[in-house]
Symmetry: C2
Subunit: 746 residues, 2 copies
């Protein structure tokens, strides 16, 4: 009802707006919005439901803010605190108000922005750096330049929308007293922030560049695109990244594109940070496309910026949540504001892939610009199709030759294995680690970061101490820990130098394989993990086979953690529980683990079944004499209760060259309203290692129904015409190509 | 597409059916279905979407079972095992097939039932009692008579549907060799099962009665309605309930109605078991309504059976899940098959309350009978309205004078306090305990039972050892533990004898109050808890005020647990964590708790904030010198990992007469995609006890914005015209009636 009233009152405003505006003098908006785009949005009002709906909710949001009044407080607080959250709300609101002014023509929006900007112009000369000193680059309105750059990226858009509406004196004042000095502050005065290759710097570049475009300041635009001469720099940033700018060769927006993404669109810090960085990348690219089309920025590096959006979408689970590799708060998803902008832009500029429309439908809003209008129109025309999530290997490194992540999807199963670059200050020591999902979410989890973003209760919303002492450590991940020590002795520099080594990736239907090596994480230890997602005709769900081969000196102690989610059901092994708990160690993350129970494995098979959501899951391990399995719980040495009390199990083995062979099976179902369980036991009867050496791994597994399968894999020769032969107990097995899966008939 | 095909192929079958059936000879179906009802269902096919949809999915389910073939295995397994689950699937399928035969007229359904019944008739004489010996009343096809009674309740319906279709010889054989002996087995041969007042016996009564109605056996019908002479009996059932039938006066279906429900429709074992019992109550009542309308069973005790459905619906949270008081597996909900039958029946026979239609819409299916058709038609006609969940006190006891549970609902908050009867073998020692919900689910939880129903991994799906040692104990609940001992010294008989004492219940808008006493749970200790849900104009959500008053000897040790759900955010108190954990005790549930941290409270205020789902919650406590707060975790002494590792806090105090005054506030929000926190700190600045005595409790609380409120309550006089006066620090406070809430102006 309200919506109808709004629409009808609308055309009146637009009519009056059209008669007021002086078409001949006006050049703005020309940053993210364009004059032509605004005409088109106006012409389509009331005709495109998703666009109209977003517009209406934006009007309501801005209305509430305008009613609350202008507040430009003295900068004081960290994230989560009043002044921080207020300044943040201000820039979001100004950007929205600018768009609303353009679309509706109602001057209240322009007046609101003008008043707000003048208040900032008053404040700016009176303040020094933000009083909080914890950042390597303290900001003005915020505790770190990063947030100030956010402010400028959004505010530049608002300013563009009212630029022609403002009187010349006000424009002159704002340019001279607020925007130009602010842009200089964020660049010249903070080279350690502006001139690096880093997501923070991307924001800085976009901020300076966008305000440069608005006020037509070529110097700022050049600085944004290509950085400036660097004089000095030292120390590390808040995340431990180096700030040493001596001898630094590159910087600026173009260099960020060159270095931040791999040719596959993968971002070395992982999807959580990629999502954050995509906004300045894309919004500045949008502005450059409008104002400097000759740059062809969206075509740069074979259209890399839009390819990066596709890579990002493919790094999500069935709930649209990003894989939480490296530092990442779980739950960040395709419905974030950054992706609302990115996906519509990818649709609009990237060839109108109708699969993207289904994602936009789920987002349930569009950006209020050309891209959003175009996407919303296509949805209204019924052109949306399901997005086709792919199995793919995303190579890391600017040239695509520094490791990768492998993503295998089969029916409801999604497997992710990580053998990429370390990811700099936000990287985790998790080489060859994996994550497993099904249609209900996490099955075997990555912990993510130890952080509550923007939650003041938790150390101001920043990274918690336990992020370093737990979340980054190897034992917090589903990968091998050697001698209770994290990979690379948890040294970021060493890890950054040495990416993982992709070996084989195959996304063929029915048998999908990802295989990679890590030769440098530990001295004298060569690790090679091969994971396969197999569709077995007798089984309801694909099986996940995990063959972790290690070459190492004798008496090496191995811990292989598996962070299953859910409740333990049963095991074929007898666990002894501990009624006195002590931390499992003093360092490398072990200090945060309780050992709730342990079992000295009997026989050569360990099976462990758990329940989560509506399904059962069983891990089957081929074990050796002396192997142990431990049941662990996160939470020791956690004085502020920063860690989730999640369970895990650890397979423990002492030995030299060895193979950890595991199968993961999802089976059956149960729901609490019918209380009817189906297939609550695994269908796997046995798992045996047939062969393990530097050259090969081979296992056999047997179903309870009697069928036997053998999987053999060459660790050194992946040529499709290579021939291989293995012998065991007088039998010989031969095959061609890197792997062989056969059903045995005996 | 398939649906359309189905509909069209349908009318062909019906036409041919009508020409085949011999209207003059047929009297069946006349149990749950009637001939008239079947005609009406047929006449409406293709016209009532929800009915058609349920029919189609039923056809698919039965199709799959028919294709799988008849399997009537030798009884061997416990719940979750093959033979158990097979026999269970058989009776569900036969009942469905019977209905499908009537509606579609397709003989394959009748033939399937006939073949299945003949297989059972073959099996029956060859077997003794089920080999598993763990039940007090071993069954034939199942390990307990209870499941056999289930079988007969469902199978009687199937039999009724094909009765007229069968040849006389088959009917004769089935009646003589299967049904009559089986009915005698479940009654005469198992009086300890059949003749009690108990939900098991309700199933037994319905089973015997329904087969009696089908085969027109007056003796069985009488036995079902009124039981039979009881000769002997001793011992206890599997849940610890007494089986001593000496001197037993009553039994049978009518007596079950007399004794199982309070006049408000509350069932003393709680909603989880009420849900289970409702099916035999209602389906037998339906059959009696059809065949013996003169009994007016649905009018009996002022229409109690339908009132019980309303009571049951009101005992659910915003997800439609039953409050898990007493032994209850969480997640059981209005979408269970029992409620699918019950809610449509309540609509059909209970005056067409359109609010019930919204619940049926959520159930997304209807029973395939008159009630279901009627409800589905009303939904198709757009008559559904939102169900109005009520604040109400549900009295316990056959006469309504044995305690109660109080349910307060205000905006998104639902508070439940329990001061009912113990609930027999399934009762928990939780007098004056409470549960708190909001729109996202549990805020302060009741543990529920320690059981995975039907999950064979977990001790065959039955109650786990930890149900007794943890879930029933007082410390597992949000109520007061005195001297580390459970209520009634965890003696079921003592608890059963002595219900809680309701004191005051008020569901007025804005200020809702529940208040009750427990005088017998501990010797020399009088407990009186008053909880109020207050809408305070300055606050976004209602406040929950909790005043737990105790009169007891000096040096009594009090533990008041609060099982909040979610992650700890912060506290105004400093916690010391424990890096060596031991169980907190050896008995009464303490043996299952780890003490993760503790704080000797400084000052006279304890505040504790946590986060769950998308909201923040803060508990504010007025504390005394010497008070402690402990942070606990469930999981010690749990050899099979049967317990969830949930957190709790315990307020610990040593003293005599005292008052525990607490406030619970839900505030703010956060979501992981926007990462924007709102109101993440409590608005409560202070909470003070102004007065506490045998006669009165009074507290003041102050908001951070400066407003002060006082709540005063008379513990002994609740007359509306009573006058009260309290003095404190020279000030006097006076009011009329049991309580007073005032905003203070100073």
């Amino acid at each position: 009802m309200r919506f109808l009233i709004f629409i009808s009152s609308f055309f009146v405003s637009i009519a009056s707006f059209a008669s007021q505006s002086n078409e001949t003098n006006s050049t703005h908006p020309n940053l993210v919005l364009t004059k032509q785009g605004v005409s088109s949005m106006r012409a389509n009002l009331g005709k495109v439901p998703l666009f109209d709906k977003t517009l209406e909710s934006t009007i309501q949001l801005v209305k509430a803010e305008i009613e609350a009044g202008i507040q430009v407080p003295e900068p004081k607080d960290l994230a989560g605190g009043y002044s921080h959250e207020r300044h943040k709300a201000n820039f979001f609101t100004m950007q929205k108000a600018g768009v609303l002014f353009q679309i509706t023509g109602e001057e209240k929006y322009a007046a609101y922005i003008k008043e707000m900007l003048l208040a900032y112009a008053e404040l700016y000369p009176t303040i020094d750096k933000h009083p909080a000193t914890r950042s390597y680059a303290r900001g003005k309105f915020f505790w770190q330049c990063l947030n100030d750059a956010n402010w400028l990226v959004y505010t530049a858009q608002a300013y563009d929308c009212i630029y022609d509406w403002l009187d010349a004196k006000t424009v002159n004042k704002l340019n001279k007293e607020l925007f130009r000095p602010y842009a200089d502050f964020l660049s010249l005065e903070n080279p350690q922030f502006f001139n690096r290759l880093h997501n923070h710097s991307t924001w800085g570049n976009a901020a300076v560049g966008m305000i440069g475009l608005v006020i037509n300041d070529k110097e700022l635009i050049d600085r944004a695109l290509y950085a400036f001469d660097i004089k000095s720099g030292s120390g590390v940033d808040n995340d431990g990244g180096s700030l040493n700018l001596q001898g630094y060769k590159e910087g600026g927006f173009v260099a960020q594109i060159d270095h931040s993404f791999s040719p596959d669109g993968y971002y070395t810090e992982g999807p959580y940070y990629q999502r954050y960085a995509m906004y300045p990348f894309l919004v500045f690219a949008q502005a450059l496309t409008n104002k400097m089309p000759e740059l062809k920025i969206l075509d740069y590096r074979n259209g890399l910026l839009l390819k990066a959006v596709d890579a990002l979408i493919n790094q999500t689970n069935s709930q649209g949540e990003f894989f939480p590799i490296n530092d990442a708060q779980k739950g960040m998803s395709l419905s974030s504001r950054e992706l609302v902008n990115a996906v519509s832009m990818a649709y609009h500029y990237g060839g109108n892939d109708t699969g993207l429309l289904s994602i936009i439908e789920n987002q349930n809003r569009v950006p209020l610009n050309d891209s959003g209008l175009n996407a919303a129109k296509a949805i209204a025309d019924g052109r949306s199709t399901a997005f086709k999530y792919k199995s793919l290997e995303l190579r890391d490194g600017a040239n695509g030759n520094e490791g990768a992540i492998g993503i295998l999807r089969s029916k409801d199963i999604t497997l992710v294995m990580k053998y990429a670059k370390h990811g700099m200050g936000h990287g985790h020591f998790d080489r060859l680690g994996f994550l497993l999902y099904d249609e209900n979410g996490e099955v075997i989890q990555d912990y993510g970061s130890a952080r509550w973003v923007n939650i003041e209760h938790k150390d101001g919303g920043g990274y918690l101490k336990e992020n370093h002492s737990w979340a980054k450590e190897t034992v917090a991940h589903n990968t091998l820990v050697v001698n209770k020590d994290s990979h690379f002795d948890h040294n970021v520099k060493a890890a950054d130098k040495s990416p993982g080594t992709p070996y084989y990736f195959d996304s063929s239907e029915g048998i999908q394989i990802v295989s990679a090596k890590e030769l440098n994480a530990y001295e004298n230890v060569e690790m090679h993990r091969t994971m396969a997602v197999l569709e077995i005709e007798e089984l309801e769900n694909p099986l996940v086979l995990d063959l972790f081969s290690v070459q190492a000196p004798g008496d090496t102690r191995y811990d292989l953690p598996v962070y299953y989610l859910g409740e333990f059901m049963s095991s074929n092994q007898k666990f002894e529980i501990n009624n006195e708990l002590s931390p499992m160690g003093t360092n490398d993350g072990y200090q945060h683990l309780w050992q709730e129970a342990q079992s000295n494995i009997e026989g050569d098979l360990m099976q462990f079944t758990w329940f989560n959501n509506r399904s059962f899951y069983t891990m089957t391990s081929a074990t050796l004499a002396g192997d142990q399995v431990l049941m662990t719980r996160i939470g020791a040495n956690d004085p502020n209760f920063n860690l989730r009390r999640d369970p895990g199990l650890i397979l423990r083995r002492v030995g030299g060259n060895t193979l950890f062979a595991n199968l993961y099976e999802k089976h059956g179902s149960y729901n609490y309203a019918s209380e009817r369980p189906l297939n609550l036991f695994t269908t796997i009867a046995d798992l045996n290692v047939i062969h393990q050496s530097e050259g090969y791994v081979a296992v056999q597994f047997e179903l309870k129904s009697g069928e036997k399968y053998q999987f053999s894999f060459s660790l050194n020769n992946k040529e499709s015409n290579s021939s291989h032969i293995l012998e065991k107990n007088g039998k010989s097995y031969n095959w061609q190509g890197v792997y062989d899966l056969k059903k045995l008939t005996e």
